[in-house]
């Protein structure tokens, strides 16, 4: 299998697929265009018609992001990343379990359950935010990191479930069943057969949930009650604040921070040998 794959890859490389490559390259440029505009604006102060480059550059936006006395810069960033990771892991586990229940078993309520799981897609995330706020305050988990993680997980769940159902279905149960028949314990057979097959989906689900949590504003505000601060809640007033330079500086730092976390994630995967397996997947 591996050998034939390698051969296929080589063959494809030789073919070159210039058209496809060009298409992808154009898309990359389109993606980078607005990002670079934001990046330039983060260090521009005045940029009037009809100039193609700013008249006045300034670092005040960047300084505001890095050194604003209230922002507690790195601490807030660290907390946001930690919350987002917790959400990613929690949501993915819940979603993986739900997907397993839906794909591998027949039970009463299965259809309704799988339908309800995706309904949050259709209802803007926060119809529920306010009612939930009261519930959380009663339960004493408002204004706690745990409460914020829980609330974010609810938002991320439909995405994670959709991804996990796809891979769980594709993985099937045959291998795991076979392992069981050969006498392996349930956990062992799961870990050695199904888990590797689920890995691409798990990674997708983790990255999606991570992004959703990291960029969540209103919910964090309500549940966190100002006590739990994340990068998104610190950034938001500036995005709507009318100062383009500062808004752009926050925006670009947000993108960079997320991107760097993904690069590290990527590096860890490679380091632990998972990279190769998932080579083909998004």
């Amino acid at each position: 299998m591996a050998a034939s794959n390698a051969a296929a890859t080589r063959r494809k490389k030789r073919n070159g697929k210039p058209f496809s490559k060009l298409f992808v390259a154009i898309h990359v440029l389109i993606v980078l265009l607005p990002i670079s505009v934001i990046a330039v604006w983060a260090c521009a102060d005045r940029w009037q018609w009809p100039l193609l480059l700013p008249e006045e550059f300034s670092m005040r936006g960047i300084e505001e992001v890095l050194f604003s006395s209230n922002g507690q810069g790195l601490a807030v960033m660290g907390q946001s990343i930690a919350i987002a990771f917790a959400v990613a892991v929690l949501t993915t586990i819940v979603a993986a379990m739900a997907a397993r229940a839906i794909c591998n078993y027949t039970w009463v309520g299965r259809n309704a359950y799988s339908f309800l799981l995706v309904v949050p897609f259709l209802i803007p995330t926060t119809v529920f935010a306010m009612g939930v706020q009261v519930l959380f305050i009663h339960a004493g988990i408002a204004r706690t990191v745990f409460g914020v993680i829980l609330a974010h997980s609810i938002c991320a769940l439909p995405y994670a479930v959709t991804i996990m159902i796809d891979v769980t279905r594709a993985a099937g149960t045959r291998l795991e069943d076979a392992a069981r028949t050969l006498g392996a314990g349930p956990l062992r057979s799961f870990v050695s057969t199904t888990l590797p097959a689920l890995m691409p989906g798990i990674l997708s689900s983790i990255s999606m949930s991570y992004i959703l949590s990291f960029s969540q504003y209103f919910l964090t505000l309500l549940i966190g009650g100002g006590a739990v601060r994340t990068f998104a809640t610190v950034m938001f007033p500036y995005l709507s604040g009318g100062d383009r330079t500062i808004a752009a500086a926050y925006g670009i730092s947000f993108i960079l921070a997320t991107f760097v976390v993904f690069l590290i994630f990527e590096w860890l995967l490679r380091r632990f040998g998972l990279g190769k397996r998932t080579d083909l997947y998004g």
């Binding site: 995330t125 306010m130 009650g225 100002g226 007033p237």
Partner: protein, 430 residues
Amino acid sequence: MKNVSMPAVSRRKFLALTGATGSTVVLGGALAGCSGSSEPASDGEGSDAEIDYTNWDAVLEAAKGQTVSWYGYGGSEPRNEWIESVLTPLLKEKYDITLDLVGMDINDILSQLSGEMQANAEEGTIDFIWINGENFYSAKENGYLWGPFCEYLPNFNDYVDGESADIAYDFGSAVEGYEAPYGKAQMQMWVDSSVIAETPKNPEEFLAFCQAHPGQVTYPQPGDFTGTAFICCLIAGVVGKEEFEKLSMMTDPSEDEVKAIIEPGLEYLRSLNPHLWNQGTTFPADSNTVSTMYADGELVMNMGYGAPQALVDDGTLPETTKSFLFDTGTVGNTNFMAIAANAPHKAAALVAINEVISPEMQLSQYEVLGNMSVLDMEKLDEADRTAFDDVELGVSQLPLSDLLAVRVAEPAGPVVPIIEQIWLDEVVGK
């Protein structure tokens, strides 16, 4: 920031670039609003219950060591900077109070507050809030605010004229001691004087100005508070100050009553349309977009509460930026600070609010932020008054006396949405 002096405290939330959460605010907030609390307002109970607030020394004593949270619009960088670098250290040093500034849009603050009130949280998270207009009215009506407290504040008693219309009424609703003034704001317009030599002085000249710069003038869609305030300036100019200020007294206005007063103004606004950006068929949704278009050179005029001095200092706008007013008047309002009914640190909140309205801090805000003071100049001693007079204004700033000379009261809270609806029905695209 062009709205340096008071953006967030407007009656409405900033209609502005909003973040990832999309309709979040719509729906979430909608829920918030629908579930008010029936708690009575003035239960000052909580940890501070036994304090005698009429004894200022006791308040100072109780406040010592407390951390007080101040919730308000957080998107104005110069203002945040002022609070953090001037006010916060001062409170720490003088009173051992730690000020924690939490930047949020007013709707989100009220959502959070109403959620906490619903849950009957006896001790909330919010101590005091930067607020005004209908947000104040609605928070007060629903018992979210603690008070009356202004009478406890020495600086309020000594330096503020509590009887003046600007302080006693907030967009037409009686303040009754439930909020203390923070600053005054007034509409002004500005242009780049290297491009525009002559600025219009009244609606007539403004029409000529628009004709001279076809497609290069517009205003934010009313509904955005800057847009509403700007058309109010024009309407007031057309119908006259006296007639217009009738709107600020209305408590239960009907559409017909409002229309009867502003009709000539509507006619005038329609006559502007053909010369405006996009021929007046569409208007930018918020003042941020207008500012962007102005900064880039697509528009020749911008407007807002307060001068854009911070932007000039940044270099975002040129040194040749000049503000102007209409002789026929521009609308102004006052923004305030209120204490939450379930505030955990009411004593410290009182001390902090008292400090914000001290002559020194009001002067400092005037110097640094160009904020119009809420103090009664007559009540200040000689030295303080001179200090205010001696403040050197930035190139884009107008003297206080010029502003106050043409100040027109804003319409009462309930009138504003009616004006906006009428504009939508009868002005845009007509």
